[in-house]
Structure formats: structure tokens, C-alpha cells
């Protein structure tokens, strides 16, 4: 397949962050459907699932060095925090890690491709 060559422009820092994020999503995906989450609310797995899917798509976008990836990542980050505040399960470590990632993404934001 002949994909466009934007991948080559991705800095190594973003590659590392993206790989960590992919691994994190792989771990988090089964956990959102755990019996413990299901017990909190009937709709919680669905809501967390949508946020996680958005998070995954944003990482794919960042991997391709696209601005929409960063925008989607920030939106999914805030959506996730709102849900965690509502269920009273805030994790400071997760917030800090995401904040560091967002800073990394914002450093390269202007160099990223504006198109889809």
C-alpha cells in the first residue's frame, strides 16, 4: 500500500510517547469492561469505551503527525477527567502523565499537518 510520507517527519519523542500510549490503551481496554466498572453504572463501560476509542484514534493521528490527533487527544483527556470526577475516581498519576504527553504534543503542534 502506498501511504503518504508524513510518517517520516515524526520526531523520536513523539514516537516514544505514541508507543507508550498504544501500550497503555492495550492495557486499559479490557479493564473498562471489568465487572468492577460495570457495577458502578450500566453505561460507564460504554462511555469509557468511547473515550478510549477516541484516545486511540488521536494517537493514530499523532503517529501520522496530524494536528487533529493532538486536538482529539486533548478533548478525550478532558472528557475522561470529567467522567472520573463524576464517579469520584481521580488519579493524579494519570493526570500528570497525560499532561506531560500533551506538553510533548504541543511542542510539535505547529509543525504538524493540518489536513486529515
Amino acid at each position: 500500500m502506498a501511504f503518504s510520507s508524513t510518517i517520516k517527519k515524526r520526531p523520536i519523542l513523539l514516537s516514544i510517547v505514541c508507543i507508550i500510549s498504544y501500550a497503555w490503551i492495550a492495557v486499559a481496554f479490557p479493564s473498562i469492561f471489568s465487572p468492577a466498572v460495570k457495577k458502578i453504572s450500566e453505561w460507564l463501560p460504554a462511555v469509557l469505551g468511547i473515550i478510549l476509542a477516541a484516545n486511540f484514534m488521536s494517537i493514530v493521528g499523532i503517529w501520522h503527525f496530524k494536528q487533529w490527533g493532538v486536538e482529539m487527544y486533548v478533548i478525550s483527556f478532558f472528557a475522561k477527567q470529567i467522567v472520573y470526577i463524576l464517579i469520584d475516581d481521580i488519579s493524579i498519576i494519570s493526570i500528570c502523565l497525560s499532561a506531560v504527553f500533551i506538553i510533548c504534543f504541543l511542542i510539535y503542534y505547529k509543525q504538524m499537518d493540518k489536513n486529515l
Binding site: 500500500m1 503518504s4 469492561f33 469505551g49
Partner: protein
């Protein structure tokens, strides 16, 4: 409107692609079907058993505290040696609690014995002879089918009368009306004054169908009420608005005072409540749920990889079509949506099929084994959510790859 038109077009494209490759579609959705079947069937069984058990436990009375010798805790570390020398609750203690307790709506005494019951030539072994005090009906409602409950005078005098469960009626009186007839227990005649409605056995084995209820003042003449096997219990029902914790606090003080325990001495009685039973099962159901979730999770993961693989193949196969579409003006997001929809539809159908199989299995199990399993709305939502998300996650990378194709190179490819 444009969004809906695009979505409709994408769905039609996707369905067309799926229908034109029937075998491939079937094989790739099979992974998701098996995954959803595995995870949701385990959740369904666990939820149904849990609900059934909770209903059974609740039938014992959510607002009733049981004053007993043995606490309702189980497990390998149960310190039975601490409890074995404790005294059994007595009817005298019941009278004292009745006099002092402010938070109780009603209270009663109960002790059960396994006995043989006879009526003419018919006899039944292992019948539960339940010796009860007055007000028992206020703590645990006995549903009378025919006849009546005991009167206060009958309780006080210890009259030889009985209320019998449905299994006893069926076992001893085949078709005859038992009211006014006499049955024999341990050589003593008992006149039947009432029969109870058929209740059926709950998951924890609680039933009144096999019971013969007699006034406690009668039972004390024929059996040793302090026998450990009879499990003597004082049942205390909380007043409306009073929590079990408040009632337990009050009962602890009263029981310690009745038994004249020193301030530092341990309680020599147990105050049990139904939530203690529920807690014992929480751990068990939690473990079963986690096992099902892990097994189903792996199955879904495999299904997800299968869909991703099929989507890559699909993009590869249709590369020149994508090139033509792009050269005719199709936007990147349209190509993305087209392949993403295909993946989501594929996964959604797989999930739906998994849920249909579970539903059929539930009907079959219900008919064949008489088990009541319920496919709850939360499990349906969960199953469909998982399948849609698997579709999105496994289809996004191939779909995005397709949307980024260079039209000239794409048309040129074979």
C-alpha cells in the same frame, strides 16, 4: 444532512463489500461472535445467580437481626473453638429483650428439629419441626393457604396444634383436607389448624414447605430446646426508619447486660444479619466474573485482530477503487468513514450474533433445566459496546491508511 448522507452511503458501501465476500465476512465476524458469547454468557450466568441468591437472602428479612450462638461467617479461619462454649439464646432472654428494646418492631423465638411425622399409615422423615413463639408471623410472614395462624392463648398454653407446609400436605394427606386432622410427632398428637402456601426452595435452601410449625411452649415438653442442632434463634425486626446497625448496637448492650458480661469480656452471642450472607457470596461471584472477563477478553482480542487483518486485506484489494474514488473527488474522510463503517458493521453483526446465541441458549437452558437466566439490558449494552469499539479500534488504522493513499499510486496498483 451531509453527515447522514455520508453515513448512509458508507453503510451501503460497507454492506455491499460484506455481502460480496460472504465466507470472509462470516469467518471474520466469528471471532467477535465467540468473544461476545464468552464474555456476556459468563456475565449473564453470574448476574442471574447473584440476583437469585440476593432475592433468597432478602427473603430471610433485610431488616431482621438474628440473635444466635454461631456467627454467619465462613472460611478456613473460622474460630469455632471460641464459640462452642457459648450459651444458646432462650425464650427468657426473648422476654427480657422484648421488655428493654426500643428499636424493635417485633421479635420472636424459633428453634428447629428434624423429626418424623406420621398420619395414619403415611409417614415423612426429616421434617423440620419449627418451635415458634407468638409474633413470629410479624417478623417472618407465614402465608396461610387454608385455616388460620395460632392464637395468643394457644401460644401461651402450649396447645398441641400445628401449621404445616405444602410438602407435608402433599406427602401425608394426598387429596384429603388436613384441617382438623391429627398428625403424630414423637408419640404426641398434633391437630392441624392451618396449611401454608407452596413456597418452593430458594437458592440457599430456605423453604417452609417441609415445615411443621408448633408453639414453642408445646415443643419444650417433647424436645430439648437448648440442643445445638436445633439452632435456637431470637429474631428481632427493626422498626421503620431504624437501621440494622442501630438495632445491633442496642441489642449488643441488652444481651451483654442480660448475660452479665464484664466490660472487657467478649460477646458470648452473635448478632447476624442477611447482609453477612450476601458478603460471603460477593467474593465468589467476583472471582467467577473476573475469570469470565479474562477468557472472554482474550477471545475478543483474537476477534479484533481478525477484523483488523480482514480490513487490511480489504483495503489492499480495493486500492485501485480508492484511487478512482479519490480522483473523482472523494475526500479523505469519506474513504476513512467507508472502511471504518465496514469494520464497525462487521463487528456489530458479530456481537449481535453472539447475543442472539446467548438468548437462544438461555431459552434452551430454561426449558431443559428449569434455570432462570436473564440477559439483562446492561449486558446487552455491554456486548454491543464492546463489539462496536472493537470495530472502531481494529478498523481505524487500515481505514486511515486507505484515506491517506495517493490517488495516482492507488490507481496504478493491481
Amino acid at each position: 444532512m451531509l453527515v447522514f448522507r455520508l453515513l448512509k452511503e458508507s453503510i451501503l458501501f460497507a454492506l455491499n463489500a460484506l455481502v460480496s465476500n460472504k465466507l470472509r465476512t462470516f469467518l471474520s465476524l466469528l471471532g467477535i461472535t465467540i468473544g461476545i458469547f464468552a464474555i456476556i454468557s459468563v456475565f449473564t450466568v453470574v448476574d442471574s445467580l447473584e440476583n437469585s441468591l440476593r432475592t433468597s437472602v432478602a427473603s430471610l428479612g433485610d431488616d431482621v437481626v438474628y440473635v444466635q450462638k454461631w456467627p454467619w461467617t465462613f472460611g478456613p479461619d473460622y474460630p469455632w473453638w471460641k464459640y462452642m462454649d457459648r450459651p444458646q439464646p432462650t425464650t427468657e432472654e426473648l422476654s427480657e429483650i422484648q421488655r428493654r428494646c426500643q428499636n424493635a418492631a417485633a421479635m420472636a423465638y424459633e428453634a428447629t428439629f428434624s423429626k418424623t411425622v406420621q398420619y395414619h399409615d403415611n409417614s415423612m422423615d426429616n421434617v423440620s419441626l419449627a418451635a415458634i413463639s407468638d409474633n413470629f408471623n410479624d417478623v417472618k410472614k407465614l402465608e396461610i393457604n387454608d385455616g388460620r395462624y395460632f392464637s395468643e392463648a394457644e401460644f401461651a398454653s402450649g396447645k398441641n396444634i400445628a401449621l404445616i407446609g405444602d410438602a407435608i400436605v402433599q406427602g401425608l394427606f394426598s387429596g384429603e383436607n388436613p384441617i382438623g386432622k391429627e398428625i403424630e410427632v414423637m408419640g404426641r398428637k398434633l391437630t392441624i389448624v392451618g396449611t401454608l402456601k407452596k413456597q418452593g426452595e430458594s437458592m440457599i435452601g430456605e423453604t417452609v414447605d417441609n415445615n411443621v410449625f408448633v408453639p414453642v411452649n408445646f415443643a419444650r415438653n417433647i424436645v430439648d430446646m437448648r440442643k445445638d442442632q436445633s439452632n435456637p434463634t431470637i429474631l428481632v425486626k427493626a422498626k421503620t426508619g431504624i437501621t440494622n446497625a442501630q438495632l445491633i448496637d442496642e441489642l449488643t448492650g441488652i444481651m451483654r447486660s442480660i448475660r452479665k458480661l464484664q466490660p472487657l469480656a467478649d460477646d458470648d452471642f452473635a448478632l447476624n444479619q442477611t447482609s453477612m450472607l450476601s458478603k460471603q457470596f460477593d467474593g465468589l461471584f467476583g472471582i467467577v466474573g473476573i475469570i469470565g472477563w479474562i477468557i472472554g477478553g482474550f477471545a475478543i482480542l483474537v476477534g479484533g485482530f481478525g477484523i483488523a487483518n480482514i480490513m487490511f486485506v480489504s483495503v489492499k484489494e480495493r486500492t485501485n477503487i480508492i484511487g478512482i474514488q479519490k480522483s473523482l473527488g472523494a475526500k479523505n474522510y469519506f474513504i476513512l468513514l467507508q472502511f471504518l463503517t465496514e469494520s464497525v458493521v462487521l463487528s456489530f453483526i458479530g456481537g449481535l450474533l453472539g447475543l442472539v446465541i446467548i438468548y437462544i441458549a438461555i431459552l434452551f437452558i430454561g426449558d431443559s433445566f428449569g434455570m432462570t437466566l436473564v440477559l439483562s439490558s446492561s449486558n446487552i449494552i455491554l456486548g454491543l459496546t464492546i463489539s462496536i469499539l472493537i470495530g472502531v479500534i481494529s478498523g481505524f488504522i487500515p481505514a486511515y491508511g486507505a484515506s491517506q493513499l495517493d490517488p495516482v499510486e492507488a490507481i496504478r496498483s493491481n
